[in-house]
């Protein structure tokens, strides 16, 4: 019995001694924070931070080279956790989601001919600009779907991609992949988008797609917030002033503007709080508010489009949510 203990103990001691000496000889400096950071990162290796993977990002963070909020899929929680480990402040990053600027479904935007080749958009674009007749439109071969690490973008049976806004983390991988440069990262709150990238006007667009922007500018005139910035004959929504009121989508003749907001409310003025300053009536883009000066004002529910401008202007906070204004969300495909 005693021999067993001595033998094993002796072996153990020898090993321990040897390893201790070796650990001194082969010392390697490893920052313990790197492991701690790696543990809080999502581990998807998507590259949105700009580094080759979560490990590389962790090392850069520990080395003070990367900002703690660079992990976009991780969002503010990860940024805070990383900042805590590093002992620094983390600035907030607004969540941005991918938006596809093309609504040219198979029915709306025909192909030039039968395409038989590599089923990848980046390869298909090498063949005469791709199979779609519209030179600016989505080729629908699903390359964006394949590169998305979060399975957040899918090409539907109608031939154009749709973004799952719950899953999308704004990592931006799809943006660089689309050979037609149709995908853009826009703030989460912007839920009304122009789904067209064709800069030509009128007939030239109509000849290649029935849902394209023809440059009629009706949206520009209708926008209560001046958020429509026309790029020649192509409508573009400026995300900063845009409040996603959806008025532009209702006036677009071709359905080129998608409106993803499902629920809006009409305005309702609290007659007791209203002081009749008429500010709301003046800013209402659809003239839905009536009332005399110094007397309580009222909103005409039939005209109100739920843009919320009046509520923003009221100095007494007297305008709140009234009835539901339901407009079916208008997506690019029927």
């Amino acid at each position: 019995m005693i021999e067993a203990v001595v033998v094993l103990g002796g072996l153990g001691l020898v090993a321990a001694l040897g390893l201790s000496l070796a650990s001194l000889r082969f010392r390697v400096e490893v920052d313990p924070r790197v492991e701690a950071i790696e543990a809080v990162l999502p581990g998807a290796n998507c590259g949105a931070c700009g580094y080759a993977g979560c490990s590389a990002f962790a090392r850069a963070l520990a080395g003070g080279e990367a900002p703690p909020n660079a992990c976009i899929p991780g969002g503010p929680e990860v940024a805070r956790a990383v900042a805590e480990i590093l002992g620094v402040e983390a600035a907030d990053v607004a969540r941005r989601l991918a938006v596809v600027h093309c609504g040219g479904t198979r029915d709306a935007a025909p192909d030039k001919g039968i395409y038989q080749g590599v089923p990848d958009c980046r390869a298909a674009v090498l063949v005469g600009g791709g199979p779609k007749l519209c030179p600016y439109g989505c080729l629908g071969l699903g390359t964006c779907e394949r590169v998305c690490p979060f399975h957040a973008i899918r090409v539907g049976p109608d031939g154009i991609p749709r973004v799952d806004r719950q899953r999308c983390t704004g990592c931006g991988k799809c943006v660089g992949t689309c050979p037609k440069e149709l995908i853009e990262l826009l703030p989460e709150d912007n839920r009304v988008h122009v789904r067209c990238a064709n800069p030509l006007r009128g007939k030239a667009v109509g000849a290649v797609c029935s849902r394209g922007c023809i440059g009629c500018r009706r949206c520009e005139k209708a926008c209560p917030f001046g958020a429509m910035a026309m790029d020649g004959a192509l409508a573009r929504i400026d995300p900063a002033p845009c409040t996603s009121c959806g008025v532009c989508a209702t006036v677009c003749p071709t359905g080129a503007i998608e409106d993803l907001v499902e629920v809006r409310y009409r305005a309702r003025i609290d007659a007791e709080a209203c002081i009749g300053c008429t500010k709301c009536a003046r800013v209402c883009p659809v003239d839905a508010i009536s009332g005399e000066k110094k007397k309580p004002h009222a909103v005409d529910p039939d005209r109100c489009v739920g843009c919320g401008r009046c509520a923003g202007e009221c100095p007494k906070g007297a305008i709140g949510r009234g009835e539901l204004l339901v407009r079916a969300p208008r997506e690019a495909a029927g």
């Binding site: 067993a4 033998v7 094993l8 072996l11 040897g18 390893l19 070796a22 082969f26 390697v28 490990s55």
Partner: protein, 192 residues
């Protein structure tokens, strides 16, 4: 001399530790995706296998045997192997952080690699002399490396092939390993 040669060929090809004895499958499948990591792992294992079998031979012959403590064989051997693996890990991390990163968890897992312990135990079971132990161990390690490198070469090609959905990943790797094992059965009659 010829006998030693036969012993060597037997441990490398005929009774290949991975493909005939089915030992050490974990690193075989784990690091064989790329030939670089396969070679790195093979060298690490070569070192551990050879040194551990020599050291354990001494311990068996000089300590455990004479003291009648053969029952401590497993624990004692594992202790030696664990210490050696720890040493190897330190050295690899020091000399090539990239390889250390690439091998990852599989480096310390050499400790639990049944091929290493299996080799040590086999040497004892077969009653090999010192020289025989060395030759057998080097052969075993080389055989392990051979299997690993061969397999990684095939896996690199499979990685760019159009593998049917149900077979992708580990499945096709195992099928390939099985086929490679079958191929090595061809060496069966080489040594009597």
């Amino acid at each position: 001399m010829a006998e030693l040669g036969l012993l060597f060929v037997s441990s490398v090809l005929v009774n290949n530790f991975v493909l005939s004895r089915f030992l050490g499958i974990c690193p075989f499948l784990g690091v064989s995706k790329r030939t670089e990591t396969a070679v790195g792992m093979s060298l690490a294992v070569l070192f551990v296998m050879t040194v551990s079998s020599v050291v354990t031979w001494f311990i068996q012959r000089l300590v455990l045997g004479p003291l009648g403590l053969e029952y401590l064989q497993t624990i004692a051997f594992i202790l030696v192997i664990a210490a050696l693996v720890q040493l190897v890990e330190m050295v690899v991390q020091y000399t090539s952080p990239a390889l250390h990163q690439a091998l990852g968890i599989f480096l310390p897992l050499i400790t639990t690699n049944c091929a290493v312990l299996g080799l040590a135990v086999l040497n004892v079971q077969k009653g090999h002399s010192f020289v025989q132990t060395v030759v057998f161990s080097v052969g075993a390690a080389l055989g392990f490396g051979l299997a690993l490198v061969l397999f990684s070469g095939i896996r690199e090609r499979v990685a760019v092939a159009d593998v049917p959905r149900p077979f992708q990943g580990t499945a096709i790797a195992l099928v390939t390993a099985g086929l490679l094992s079958l191929a090595f059965m061809g060496f069966a009659g080489l040594v009597k």
